[in-house]
Structure formats: structure tokens, C-alpha cells
Symmetry: C2
Subunit: 414 residues, 2 copies
């Protein structure tokens, strides 16, 4: 499939000359995402409204070219890459927060709004939009919806899908649809809203979003707990959940993550520690005080070596600076990364950690684990130089071994 | 379509003679649901496992008959009625709670489990399954999923869809599928789980359910607030939400509902009151005390005439007895009911109440409103004798007028 000059001129007619390009220097800027892969598109478009997108899709059906919607290109699944060529639809002009409705705890926004900007806007009104993927400083609402993004707060608040009430989208037929509701409740008909969420642009291009909001929690408190081993930290996570405590976030970093961040940021982290838990609670003032004490008790009883509390906004922000630095800082361990986003039942995190430790020992490769322990979600990374064929083979075998199903990990219910 | 003797014998072979019938006296028992409609099926089957259901569906495709799954037949949408004849699949033998996994806050159950029984079982383990439709004493989990049931607690906890993690289902092709996850988090692939939830049996027959649970809240407190007018009560609801307070339940009853329950139950309800709000909060002990005081302040500032607190389990149960009695007690106003389940943006409840008041005055009909004010969900009823053609016409015109769209009620965002 090649985009002909005639087709390109038709695209120019739809969005205007200023909003489309097929210059190499422009195409290169939209060939990447957060995977290592890169595919040069045939053209890049910046549509200004839903009708233009509908017209582009109609033309794509007539002239037979691919259309790939793109937020900030920070995805980890290749969803915004022109793998088979085609036209990249950059959604950056869909950047309006249309309404924040305080009385009804809902908001309407366009998909190109950067998530952190949306957080700030609703928080200014005393409201709260929980989904907070680690990329929120640059990723967009539309991208978050397309990927059904999670993030550290998912342990208490759920993922993006749990906040989407309604959508406007352009179907692969060019048809513009409105699905879902703009009320607090809505259960009539097939749930097309949540079918579109997480569909990575394959079922439609999201052009307008209605989300529900919560009242902003009155207080947040945070703590870190240091453990001798990752296994002990993992067992602590299971114990916290088993005791019925649901923190706002419950993150872990293994020794390799801690060392990595420390050498990068010099924050005085405990580089000898086997693992570190970063725990946040939120709610009413009285509630968070009780919760943080309960958490301290659990951590001590599970053998935590050192516990530190963060109360001020800047202390808490500092902790998150460490946590969010892991991913970019990892490359000091090697030029290439093989990373997997693993979810296990929360109670089986210790088993998974044991399996990772065994693989590390067996292969001698640099493996780094961190992530959302609270919902059983582990970000697992092997850092290596892929030019070293021997290491690459070992790493691939390790990944295969990691995912090998065992009855003990995935119990059969029958 | 008539079910032939040959086909019936094949059905007998699949489920066993003891578990299928086409005797009139059996068919009549499964011809009804909670609508006034009634359709006699051609046969009624009580399948014992998923494989049997798959075999029944395969036979239905070969021999061309309809299959209608049925929980307790308490639905309000006709979803379990054999409108065009066919075979009713009664799911009552799918009645096992398979596992309550305290460590991971999930449970596995079969669809025929009565919801209240499921509540009791998880609460015994210190866990909480929030969806609580008013029918929960007799409706089943499978029926709740098929209808995406709500209930009073939806204002804080959301509806059934928000708790379903994974499903086993039999497709219209006879194929048995497993969708979703059994982990806390799962965002990979199209969200077929939530597409099945709310699909009323049209996309598949649910045969196994995995739900997420919460820790059981430490404390519940309840209060009632009496207002001169329904409008004042409705404005109070808006004010509560606007202040960022999310109660566990936030129900209202209008004067007609109060009178109706009082004459039915003799509970010493304020029969002169324009409206009554029934509000519950839950959480940690300290939290509920603060919340209930905040609610008292809001209600008084909005002109509540009388406020009463319920603290013990039996006091709270008594309040719910009144609320749940409304629907059955309504028939003292007339032999027939036309009821609508309306959702409006929460802040527009006062507008909706004004519209209902105007219709009541105009038509002179008996209209009763009550329901989940907290999420803008009003159960609206006209009680009448349908044999009175004049009243019936007036009622139908009133319903049309009620739903007539107005820009002021459904604001256009563009």
C-alpha cells in the first residue's frame, strides 16, 4: 500500500495544508512509541474535529490505506505505530477540557488532553480522577482509554475503564457514534463504552470522553518499609491485603531497582535492602492516621528493618520521584531491555518472586523487578546487550520459563 | 416454531428425564417474571452443568428452537420470558459458591446462587460484595449479571459490572468460553466480560462467575431526614453530592410512598411529610461519625423538619423494611402499575420532581416516586385501573410527557 499523490491531496483538503505532512522530518517524529520498534508512516495528520476524522476514515475505506490514531506515543504495546504504513492521526488538537461538572461529579474532555493536566484541573475543583499511569505527565486521556491504563492507584481505585461513562467515537465505517451515558448510573444496552476502552484504536477512534470523578480525598499519608529480602516484602503485601487494608498505592522495588535509582538520583536510599515497599493511604484525616498505624504494625510484624513516614506533599513527591525514576534509570545496567508486565493473584506474589530469583541465579543475567504489588502487577525487566547473542538466548529462555504455566500458580477450579 | 416430540426426547437425553418437563403445570410456573407479561414456554429444563447447556444450544441450532436462560424470574425487563415460545433453562442447579478467596479478595460462584445467600457467605469471612438490588433476597447472581443490576449501594459502590472479573459462558454457537481474569488487575484484550454483563442472555449464557470483593466496612450508620416537600429533599440530595459526601446509600420516598408503607406496615412513619431521605454511611468507626454529622448539618441547613438516627443493626434493618416495602405495597392505590426506571444527572433531580408534580396536578392520577436519589435514579409509578380507558390514556400521555427531551434537562455540549 502506497499513499498516492491524489489521496494525499484529498487528505489536505479534509484537514487543511497546515495540518498534514509527508516530509521525512515530520514522519520520523511520529514513527516511534515507548517500545523499541519504529515504523515510518506515509503521512501524518493533525485533525481538528470529529467530522474531519470521519471524512479521513471514509477516504481510507475508498482509497485503501491504514489510519492509526496517536496520543503522545508513550504506549508500550505498539498501538500507535504504523506497522504496515499508513496515516498517523495525531490527536493533539483535541486538547480541550470541555466541562468539569462539580454538581454531578463528571467531566467531559477531548482525548488529546494530557492526563496530568486533567488531574490538575479537576483537583483545583476539589475533585479526583484516580487513574494515574506512570506516564501521566505526558500521556493523554485518549491513549489511557485506548490502552485501559492502570497505574499505582489501581489497587484501591481500579483502572481507566472504571471511570469512563460515555464516549464519542468514529467507527471504521466512518460513522460517528455516541455510547454510554452522562449520568452517574447507566446500565441499559450492550456495554459498548467499555468495549471501546482497551481496544487500542481497533474498534474506533475516540473523539470525546465523559468520565466520572470522586471527591478529592481530604488527606494522603505515605510510608516506606525496608525488608531484608524481596520475598519478605512480598509476603507483607499479601498480609496487608489479607487483613482487609486497601491502601491507595502499594508499590515495591527490589534491590536492583533501589541501587539503580540511588546511583541516578542520590536520594539516600537503603542500597543494601533486599526490597522496599512504598505505601500510601488516603481518606479523612482520622482514617489515614488509623490506616498508617495498622500498616506500621503489619510491616513490623513481618520483619521490616526500617520504616519511614512521609507527611508533607514534598516528602511524598520525593518518594514518587524515586519510584518513577526506575524505568528510565534502568539503562545504566545495559543498553537493551526486555520487559514484561505480569499480573498474578496477589497472594502468589511471593511464589513469583521465588521463581524470578531462581531464574536470576540460573542465568546470571541482570533482572530488575518493581511495580504495583498491591494488585499483583509486577514490572519485570532483563537488562542486557542484545548484540551478545549468548545473553539474548538466555534471556529469551528465562522469559519462556517465567510464563510456563504450573498448576500451583494457576489453580484449576474444577 | 413447535417443539417436536423428537426434539423433546433429545433434550431428555441431554439433561435426564427428571430435569425436563412440558407438563402444563410446570410450564405455567416459568411463564412469568416481575413484569405483568406472561408467555407459556414449550418446555422447561434444569441443566446440571455447562456441558449440558452447550449440548442444548447445539441442539437448538440444529432443530431451530429458542433457549431462554432464567434465574429467579424477578427481572423487570422480560429477559427471562419465552416471548416467542421455546425452552426455558432454569439455572437453579447452578447453585454452588465455589470458592471465597480471602487472600485475594475474589470469589468464584455459579449463576444460580441467590444474591443474599452470597452476601451472607462472604460477610461471614469479613468480606463485602456491594451490589444489592432490592430483589437480592430472591434474585440470583446470574440474573444480576445479565441485567447489570444496581441497587441502593450503587451511589458509592457502583453496579454489578464493577465487580465482575471473569466469566464462563456458553455462546449461541454452543461454544464454551472463558473471558476476563481471576486476578485483581486485567486489562488485556477486548472487554468481553463486561460486554456479556448486561446483555440479558442475548450474547451468551453465563455458567460461572468470578467477582472481586472488598473488605467488609467496619461500621454502618443510618439516618432519616423529613422534609416539607419532595423538592426540598431533592435539593438536599444535590447539596450532599456537591459537598463531596458520598454516602453508602441515599434513598428518597415521596409522600405517597410514605403513606403507602405506613398503612401497610404501621411503622409510625411521618405521613404528613412531603418526602423522606434515608441515608446510610459506612467505613471506619471514626469516619462514619464524622460523615453522619456532616450529613445532619447539610439536612438541617436545607430545612429538614425532623432527623432520626439508626445505629443498631435492627434499627437500620427496620428502615430498610420500610424502603423495600414500597414496591409491593403500592397496589393498595390501584390494581395496575405503570412504572419507569428513570436516571437523570443528580443535580437535575429537583427539575424532574417539579415535572412529575406538574403531571400529577394536570392528570389527577396517583403517581408515586421513590428510589436511589444519590445516583439520580428515580422509580416512577402510576397506579391505576387499566380497565378505565380514560385513566390509561392519561397515564400514557403523562409518560410520554415525562420523557419528552428538553434542552434544559439534557444540555447539548457542542
Amino acid at each position: 500500500m502506497v499513499l498516492t499523490d491524489t489521496t494525499f491531496r484529498k487528505l489536505q483538503d479534509i484537514v487543511g495544508n497546515a495540518y498534514c505532512s509527508r516530509k521525512k522530518e515530520d514522519l520520523v517524529c511520529y514513527a516511534y512509541d515507548a517500545t523499541a520498534a519504529s515504523y515510518l508512516p506515509d503521512a501524518v495528520l493533525f485533525p481538528g474535529n470529529t467530522q474531519e476524522i470521519s471524512a479521513i476514515i471514509n477516504l481510507a475505506n475508498e482509497d485503501d490505506f491504514s489510519v492509526i490514531p496517536r496520543g503522545s506515543g508513550s504506549g508500550m504495546t505498539g498501538g500507535s505505530l504504523a506497522v504496515q504504513g499508513g496515516v498517523i492521526l495525531v490527536m493533539s488538537r483535541f486538547n480541550r477540557i470541555l466541562e468539569i461538572d462539580k454538581d454531578n461529579l463528571i467531566a467531559h474532555a477531548e482525548p488529546g488532553v494530557v492526563t496530568a493536566r486533567f488531574h490538575q484541573a479537576v483537583e483545583k475543583e476539589g475533585l479526583f480522577y484516580p487513574p494515574d499511569p506512570s506516564s501521566s505527565e505526558f500521556s493523554t486521556l485518549g491513549g489511557n482509554l485506548a490502552e485501559c491504563a492502570g497505574g499505582p492507584r489501581a489497587v484501591k481505585y481500579g483502572v481507566t475503564r472504571d471511570y469512563v461513562l460515555g464516549l464519542e467515537a468514529v467507527l471504521p465505517t466512518g460513522e460517528i457514534i455516541h455510547v454510554g451515558v452522562r449520568t452517574a448510573k447507566g446500565v441499559v444496552g450492550y456495554d459498548l463504552t467499555r468495549l471501546l476502552v482497551g481496544s487500542e484504536g481497533t474498534l474506533g477512534i475516540i473523539t470525546r470522553i465523559t468520565v466520572r470523578l470522586l471527591p478529592l480525598p481530604e488527606a494522603i499519608r505515605a510510608m516506606t518499609a525496608v525488608f531484608d529480602s524481596l520475598e519478605k516484602a512480598a509476603e507483607t503485601v499479601s498480609e496487608i491485603i489479607a487483613q482487609g487494608i486497601i491502601p491507595r498505592t502499594l508499590e515495591f522495588m527490589d534491590n536492583a531497582s533501589i541501587r539503580c535509582v540511588e546511583s541516578h538520583l542520590k536520594m539516600d536510599l537503603p542500597v543494601e535492602a533486599g526490597a522496599l515497599l512504598l505505601i500510601e493511604v488516603d481518606g479523612k484525616f482520622e482514617e489515614v492516621d488509623i490506616l498508617i498505624k495498622q500498616l506500621e504494625t503489619v510491616c513490623i510484624s513481618q520483619g521490616a528493618k526500617h520504616i519511614k513516614f512521609a507527611e508533607t506533599k514534598s516528602e511524598i513527591a520525593n518518594l514518587w520521584k524515586a519510584r518513577k525514576a526506575i524505568s528510565p534509570a534502568l539503562f545504566q545496567y545495559g543498553p537493551d531491555k526486555i520487559n514484561e508486565d505480569i499480573v498474578v493473584p496477589r497472594s502468589r506474589i511471593p511464589d513469583m518472586v521465588r521463581r524470578i530469583d531462581a531464574l536470576k541465579e540460573k542465568t546470571g543475567l541482570t533482572m530488575v523487578s518493581f511495580g504495583h504489588a498491591g494488585d499483583g502487577n509486577i514490572h519485570f525487566n532483563i537488562m542486557l546487550d542484545k548484540k551478545n547473542q549468548d545473553d539474548l538466548k538466555k534471556a529469551e529462555a528465562a522469559i519462556d520459563a517465567l510464563f510456563e504455566p504450573r498448576r500451583s500458580v494457576l489453580p484449576n477450579l474444577n
